[in-house]
């Protein structure tokens, strides 16, 4: 046995089915063995960054299935490995388990600036959970298993394995033995507390029973631990409304009467106002990111905070907690829901107050969505997403890119399927959607997957249409083309006096692009074309690209300006300003 074979044996044992990547000089031996072994489906991305997002798609989408898998991507040394960085940093920000294997130049020439050499471990260290560089074939199997353990245990994250070419080819020693059954990772500094301690839990229950204006926060940890159902019964039992972080969406049905929708910068009025007036925040698996809190010293000033979080370094990081529960969201909810001390209060006044908040923007939004057209007669993204939501009954999987359309998709799709929303959140990587949707579709083949991008993000990774074509991935690709980087343009409208610097952009003829890849294409310019195009995409077997011509002046409201507090929330659309950008 050689190093490369041990690597693949370990990946196979860990249930890996797909390998995404791009070969090259320093990883060739491993690719050769993949081919010989024939147990993995190899999916070639057209750029290494694409491979990282495909692998992320696998990890994110499969964790709620019976067969959770960790996404694996592979690249060669130097430029190959460097092209992985964005996707790895993205996985780290969003706590997505991921294994990245990179080839490295042979140990004899390491640190001599050899051809395609770069210090992968040095570069990756600050942007991933752990890095490994095995220096003997005998170490490889143990290292891979430890890497999987680290990537998936506690708060998940990406792990990088940088394997020198000569180690890939090295034979193991004669007396080499490894047994997975007896394998225990040797990590004396790795602590993992999945079970909630009794004392803080009792304090939490006391606070919950006593409070008058509570809000439950549903974060990524709820999705990650498959605790959506439990969270829903906790909310129903206590009659407490639930606000979602970007990554908490789809943990429970979006139209549930207790749902307040998304919180934070582009969150709903009801979520943000409720948080402002709350006397207790009960947060599960989230990290009080700046997009969620706004100005920290004005954040939820009158509220006690219960913070359930698996990563102890997140507790008290941004928001001071009253009760900290360092544990897994699922286990905590499981104990909470079953605890006889937990009581339910109707809290009629609080729910009536929330109904008032719900009405603040409801009429405006309804009017906008029903109108469906912007000032220049082009389509509104809100309307497209709402129609998609209706026509699919909110049951499909949505993989947005990053920007305005992402917020529209977060706000106006009526999520019904648990774990059906996958987005680049913390890092906000444009171009993530198309490759991530490919990974999602591979592990959820029976569900319909919509990749929604803006014209900016789509052009960042549209080379992955090559992968869609080659592997006949059945993706429904939507491009919301408004000729601008919409989100930045919105900020320019609101805070930069309408000077559109660096945001207008030309798109290629997407029809020609689609036909070059042999993918059907429809351009949608009028309201009456939306439904038939979506219907066609639903009925069609195989990929399709739908380009929607959208209004560049559409804004997503409410919005809390960056660095602002919840009181600064903008709920009314400002008067349209003169056009500043050139087309």
């Amino acid at each position: 046995m050689t190093g490369k074979e041990l690597l693949l044996r370990a990946l196979e044992k860990r249930g890996v089915r797909h390998i995404f990547g791009y070969t090259g000089g320093a990883i060739m031996p491993v690719f050769d063995s993949i081919d010989k072994l024939g147990v993995f489906k190899f999916v070639m991305s057209r750029h290494e960054q694409g491979a990282t997002f495909m692998a992320q798609g696998v990890s994110r989408a499969s964790l709620s299935t019976d067969d959770p898998q960790v996404g694996v991507c592979m690249a060669t040394s130097g430029p190959g490995a460097m092209n992985l960085t964005t996707g790895i940093a993205d996985a780290q920000m969003d706590s997505v388990p991921l294994i990245a294997v990179t080839g490295q130049v042979a140990t004899g020439v390491i640190a001599t600036d050899a051809f395609q050499e770069s210090d992968v471990v040095g570069v990756m260290m600050p942007i991933c959970k752990q890095t490994y560089m095995p220096l003997e074939a005998d170490e490889i199997e143990k290292t891979v298993h430890e890497a999987f353990y680290v990537a998936t245990t506690g708060r998940p994250g990406p792990v990088v394995l940088d394997i020198p070419k000569d180690i890939q080819n090295q034979k193991v020693s004669k007396d080499y033995q490894f047994s997975l059954e007896n394998f225990r990772p040797n990590l004396p500094g790795f602590f993992y507390h999945p079970t909630p301690a009794r004392e803080p839990l009792k304090q939490a229950i006391e606070l919950i029973n006593r409070c008058e204006r509570p809000v439950i926060f549903c974060g990524h940890g709820v999705i990650g631990s498959n605790a959506g159902k439990l969270l829903q019964s906790f909310a129903e039992k206590t009659r407490i409304p639930v606000a979602f972080t970007l990554h908490g969406l789809s943990a429970m049905p979006a139209d549930h009467p207790l749902s307040l929708g998304m919180m934070g910068m582009h969150g709903t009025v009801e979520a943000n106002r409720a948080i402002s007036e709350a006397d207790l925040l009960i947060s599960f698996g989230m990290r009080f990111d700046d997009r969620v809190t706004g100005k920290l010293n004005e954040y939820a000033k009158n509220a006690d905070v219960i913070h359930v979080e698996i990563d102890p370094s997140e507790i008290d990081k941004n928001v001071a907690t009253t009760v900290a529960i360092n544990a897994d969201a699922y286990r905590t909810l499981h104990v909470l829901v079953g605890d006889p001390m937990l009581t339910a209060k109707p809290r009629r006044r609080w729910h009536a107050r929330i109904e008032e908040f719900r009405r603040v923007m409801a009429a405006d939004l309804r009017e906008e969505i029903e109108g469906g057209l912007g000032v220049d007669g082009k389509l509104l993204m809100k309307t497209i997403v709402s129609q998609l939501s209706e026509m699919t009954q909110g049951r499909d999987i949505v993989v947005p890119d990053v920007g305005q359309h992402q917020m529209m998709a977060a706000r106006f799709y009526n999520y019904q399927t648990p774990n059906s929303w996958f987005a680049s959140g913390g890092a906000g990587t444009m171009g993530a959607s198309l490759p991530m949707a490919i990974g999602v579709k591979l592990v959820r083949p029976d569900e319909r997957v919509w990749s929604i991008s803006g014209d900016g993000g789509f052009q960042m990774n549209m080379q992955e249409l090559g992968t869609v074509m080659e592997h006949k991935i059945d993706l429904k690709i939507m491009i919301f083309n408004n000729g601008y980087l919409g989100m930045v343009r919105q900020w320019q409208t609101l805070f930069f006096d309408g000077r559109y610097a660096g945001t207008p952009m030309l798109s290629p003829d997407y029809g020609l692009i689609a036909s070059a890849y042999g993918i059907p294409y429809r351009k949608i310019e009028t309201l009456d074309q939306i439904a038939p195009a979506i219907q066609e995409a639903i009925e069609l077997e195989g990929a399709i690209i739908l380009e929607f011509v959208c209004d560049p002046s559409e804004v997503i409201l409410p919005m809390i300006p960056a660095g602002g507090g919840f009181d600064d929330m903008i709920v009314k659309r400002p008067q349209p300003r003169k056009e500043g950008g050139k087309r």
């Binding site: 471990v121 040095g122 260290m125 600050p126 752990q130 890095t131 680290v150 990590l187 004396p188 500094g189 790795f190 602590f191 990563d311 102890p312 370094s313 507790i315 008290d316 990081k317």
Partner: protein, 156 residues
């Protein structure tokens, strides 16, 4: 700003020092002093880091994030009231022998080498403040070269 000492026990493996220093940089501190030595347990190092910070919560953050590294077994703050902080210095001096002898009453140092009539190499250990005072009393102009170890700290 207040000087803080953080004690960490960590695996003695390549790259750990880089991780620790990278975290401190990321949190926008400049390392004041950093000392590493073997602990009594094989394979585990003991590190003392000092940096300047008034905000207690931010120091706790650094400690939590240090502990997040799988290589860091435990980390805690050592405050001056409950721990000893000491450092050592080796100093090459150009000074009159009698002048040096005059300091003996106040400071405990060892003459490692007496090269010619007025060049000495001495060793002194004590708290940072004590060594600073010694240098001040000696007079900077007499110092040819100085090597200080940085702080080693131990809980009472």
């Amino acid at each position: 700003m207040r000087r803080r000492a953080i004690l960490a026990y960590l695996l003695d493996s390549p790259g750990v020092l880089q991780k620790v220093s990278m975290l401190i940089r990321k949190k926008m501190y400049n390392v004041d002093t950093l000392t590493v030595c073997k602990s009594r347990k094989p394979g585990i190092s003991r590190m003392t880091i000092t940096l300047r910070e008034d905000d207690e919560a931010r120091v706790r953050q650094v400690i939590h994030q240090l502990e997040k590294f799988t290589e860091v077994i435990s980390a805690k703050e050592l405050d001056t009231e409950h721990s000893y902080w000491r450092e050592a210095a080796i100093i090459k001096l150009e000074i009159d022998g009698a002048q040096l002898d005059a300091l003996r009453g106040d400071y405990n140092f060892e003459i490692l080498e007496h090269k010619n009539h007025d060049t000495h190499i001495i060793h002194i250990a004590g708290s940072t403040r004590r060594i600073d005072a010694f240098i001040a009393q000696l007079g900077e102009e007499h110092i040819v070269e100085i090597s200080r170890t940085g702080v080693a700290a131990l809980e009472k």
